[in-house]
């Protein structure tokens, strides 16, 4: 923000508001595929958009409510499979895409509640391991129940969305525009939630659960709401991506995906919607363009290094180094930044106090 401040200072005041920034970003996103006029690029944008949706959803759970969900891909899987089972030749059911968008996110939210209800009463760190386990067994279950889910092959030839008679087909552009619409909806929803009574309750729990409980917040139902809301976003993403790829299979939803999305939040800035979107786009671009290009470049220079294999290593390094050196992310929310550095401030205060004490003693 500090970097662009001198640029924005020259703009008329009406254009300096966050609302103007959002509108500008949305307009740019809308124009992007028409400027590029490149099918592969639009295709990338559509895929990356689905991950932005996931990141926005996980941001509610991790960023707003401060609950570590390590099995977020499970809800993504549930959303995707819901669409696959209700809009494919698998069972001969062909419900319209737009209805399933709501159905899939509702189903994902219900599973969020089913998993959350018994476990959210527990200490926060147990939640991390329970969600990790959940993230492990959901794809495993889809793999095992092959008579319904097609086992390792998954479910194919899913229906493509149709809007007022227009069939989406294999062109990535309509998918991108749809995902963009969903992102706008999700970001708007998340932003309104953030400042709502519920959102403030989430942040109170994140900062100090015990204090929040004593202020009269029902911590269990509030956390459950975060879980359900986050899961429902992944249902949207699941529907969008499944209908675009026309295929779901268990290996799309492994633990790697949960960590991939978590790394987006940590990189961009947990709890900050623009930060999360930017972090998500950076990592998607890293996976699709930056690593393969760098690998190509290395090959041309004569170095035989394949960086495309090291993307998971890079996510690990991002998680560790960001948490150590810039836990608030690249584009932080001011509040979160203060919280994450609170420990350090305490320590500094304690150190100063210690010095004072020694002075008194001597």
């Amino acid at each position: 923000m500090r970097l662009i401040a001198p640029l924005t200072a020259r703009l008329p005041p009406a254009l300096r508001t966050p609302r103007a920034g959002t509108a500008l970003a949305f307009a740019a996103a809308l124009a992007l595929p028409f400027i590029g006029r490149n099918g592969a690029f639009t295709n990338f944008l559509a895929d990356a958009g689905a991950f932005v949706l996931l990141a926005l959803g996980l941001n509610i759970v991790v960023g707003f409510a401060g609950l570590l969900d390590l099995g977020y891909a499970a809800f993504f899987a549930i959303g995707s499979y819901s669409y696959a089972m209700l809009a494919s030749p698998q069972f001969g059911i062909h419900l319209p895409f737009w209805v399933l968008l709501f159905v899939a996110s509702a189903i994902a939210a219900i599973f969020g509640i089913l998993l959350g209800a018994p476990t959210l009463r527990l200490r926060g760190d147990y939640l991390a391991i329970v969600t990790l386990g959940f993230g492990e067994i959901v794809p495993q279950t889809f793999l095992n129940l092959s008579q319904w889910t097609g086992g390792p092959n998954g479910i194919g030839s899913l229906d493509q969305p149709v809007l007022f008679g227009y069939r989406f087909g294999f062109n990535p552009l309509p998918y991108y525009l749809m995902v963009l619409g969903l992102i706008a909806l999700a970001a708007w929803l998340a932003n309104n939630l953030r400042t709502s009574r519920l959102g403030r309750a989430w942040m109170a729990i994140r900062e100090d659960e015990l204090a929040a409980a004593h202020m009269g917040i029902n911590t269990t139902s509030t956390k459950l709401a975060a879980f359900a809301m986050g899961a429902s976003f992944s249902g949207l993403a699941g529907c969008a991506l499944a209908s675009k790829l026309q295929l779901v299979s268990p290996d799309q939803f492994m633990f790697n995906v949960s960590v991939f999305v978590l790394a987006m939040l940590v990189l961009g800035g947990m709890g900050n919607i623009p930060g999360v979107i930017v972090g998500s786009l950076i990592l998607s671009a890293l996976e699709r363009f930056i690593l393969p290009q760098t690998t190509n470049f290395m090959h041309n220079v004569g170095l035989n290094v394949d960086l495309t294999n090291s993307r998971f290593l890079i996510y690990g390094v991002i998680l560790v180094t960001m948490m150590l050196f810039r836990p608030e992310g690249l584009i932080p929310s001011r509040q979160r930044k203060a919280e994450l550095h609170a420990g350090q401030a305490d320590r500094r205060a304690a150190a100063a106090e210690g010095e004072l004490l020694t002075e008194v003693i001597h």
């Binding site: 476990t119 386990g133 948490m323 836990p327 320590r347």
Partner: protein, 303 residues
């Protein structure tokens, strides 16, 4: 019924491995209340370290007589030391700075460390399973229709012996007392002159060394490993630690054996594919109905 007793034996030896890993989880959780997600990967690293030491010694087949004891001692101790040091380095790099940060921060670095270790192992030994040489002569004993392999006895014995050594260390030495004091109250322990950083590093050293021993045992037991082995094993061992009562050493041991039995029985009587699902369901059920575990005391929320 024979099948049942056979699976009982298999489950116990499987449980010995989980128990050794669970000890590391429970010690670290007991002292700094952190789920060390990288612990399962330190265990896999133990198998790879053992393999590297055996290769260095030029051992690739069964060894007999006194040489066997030498080879076993060098390999197990070597793996334990290397894993112990890895644990200390992980603590220093990823956890120490965040000791006063919100709980979320060290959990995220823990998952990051786990990913880093897994992918370093992927670079080191590739994505396919790596064979582990059979070093120990493996005579089998028949007890009616049930066969017991020598290596199954070794697994259980080693787990129990290491557990007794650890218990003695924690309850009968000054350093052990320092560890218990730090676990109870870090600030008070510090005021009593205990070096907290050293004590926590020591906890990681011992816990990771036990994972190293478990790594050797698992290589010997299964005859192969791969870079992602620690993920599932770590989840099961953590379940074992919670089942036994987190922070409780004897509980981790008990939990480890129980999880081993549950896994063996599921594999036999339901299906191999569902064993992860069943173990995970056990975790959730324990957390709901008895979060303090079988032997643990209930942990109050620290203010």
């Amino acid at each position: 019924m024979d099948v049942f007793f056979q699976q009982l034996i298999n489950g116990l030896s499987l449980g010995g491995i989980y128990a050794l890993i669970a000890l590391g989880y429970t010690m670290v959780y007991g002292i700094i209340e952190l789920i060390n997600f990288a612990h399962g990967d330190v265990y896999t690293l133990g198998t790879f370290f053992s393999l590297a030491i055996l290769t260095l010694l030029g051992v690739d087949s069964v060894v007999h007589g006194p040489a066997l004891i030498g080879v076993l001692a060098v390999t197990i101790l070597g793996a334990m030391i290397l894993c112990g040091l890895t644990g200390v380095i992980i603590e220093r790099l990823a956890y120490r700075r965040l000791r006063n940060a919100p709980k979320l921060a060290p959990l995220i670095t823990a998952i990051g460390m786990s990913f880093i270790l897994e992918n370093l192992m992927l670079y080191w030994r590739g994505p396919s399973p790596v064979p582990f040489p059979q070093v120990i002569p493996n005579p089998q004993f028949a007890l009616g229709a049930v066969t017991i392999q020598a290596k199954q006895i070794i697994v259980v014995l080693l787990a129990v012996v290491l557990m007794v050594v650890l218990q003695t260390f924690v309850y009968n030495t000054r350093l052990g007392k320092a560890m218990r004091a730090t676990a109870q109250d870090k600030d008070a322990a510090q005021l009593m002159g205990i070096d907290i950083n050293t004590t926590i590093a020591l906890t990681f050293l011992i816990g990771s060394a036990l994972a190293g021993a478990a790594g050797f045992v698992s290589g010997m037991y299964y005859g192969s490993t791969w870079f992602f082995n620690g993920f599932g094993a770590g989840l099961k061992a953590f379940t074992a630690a919670v089942l036994g009562g987190i922070g409780n050493l004897a509980g981790a041991m008990l939990g480890g054996f129980l999880i081993g039995l549950i896994e063996a029985m599921t594999t036999q009587f339901i299906s191999d594919q569902w064993s992860n699902v069943v173990v995970f369901s056990v975790l959730v059920l324990v957390l709901i109905f008895r979060p303090s575990g079988l032997l643990g005391e209930s942990l109050p929320n620290k203010v």
